[in-house]
Assembly symmetry: C2
Homo-oligomer: 112 residues x 2
């Protein structure tokens, strides 16, 4: 296998996943499906409106999520994972599994 370090395609995926709230937003949309803005805000404790909007806009810009605006009052906007965004799932799964094992690793290290 040759991953051609010099081209570092890894950075492309990393760039999309990096952002303090992006992983959790993606996990929620992947596992629980379409969500409204306010539902996401409740689901991600601690996030501000500004940050939620920003992260969603960036993910939308990369075609990872889809934004659906309903022309009504009061406003209703729904977000969901795009078909393309779903292709990130294996990466998220791999990272989640590694993270779980990592927790144990750190625990063992601390017990020495």
């Amino acid at each position: 296998m040759d991953m051609q370090p010099e081209l570092c395609k890894v950075d492309d995926a990393l760039g999309i996943l990096v952002g303090k709230w992006k992983p959790i937003i993606l996990l929620i949309l992947l596992q629980e499906g379409t969500k409204r803005f306010s539902d996401l805000k409740r689901r991600v404790p601690g996030i501000t409106q500004k940050m939620l909007t920003k992260q969603l806009r960036e993910l939308e810009e990369e075609d990872i999520i889809t934004r659906n605006v309903y022309a009504q009052v009061p406003p209703k906007v729904e977000y969901s994972i795009s078909e393309y965004g779903r292709s990130l799932e294996p990466i998220l799964v791999a990272m989640h599994e590694w993270g779980t094992a990592h927790t144990l690793h750190k625990t063992k290290k601390g017990q020495l």
Copy 2:
């Protein structure tokens, strides 16, 4: 499958991989084995001594890489992937594959 978004173990893996030069350093060590400091510096064009040192220290701190110092003049220090660090390989591979496909995705989008 339940990845428990609220705990977001994904951030653990992400935190270790994030850093402007970490992915490329890890790919090089994974694919080409042990390297000296100066070899790495040559292998990663554009990186400064300060940044190379910093990224290596951070990876070492997480037990992802191993630092081997030879007590001689002139100094010789070798870096290699630790057994634990090798467990990150599936993630790097998944991200590289996604990144490669992503390039095509962007190209198609641009052609519309």
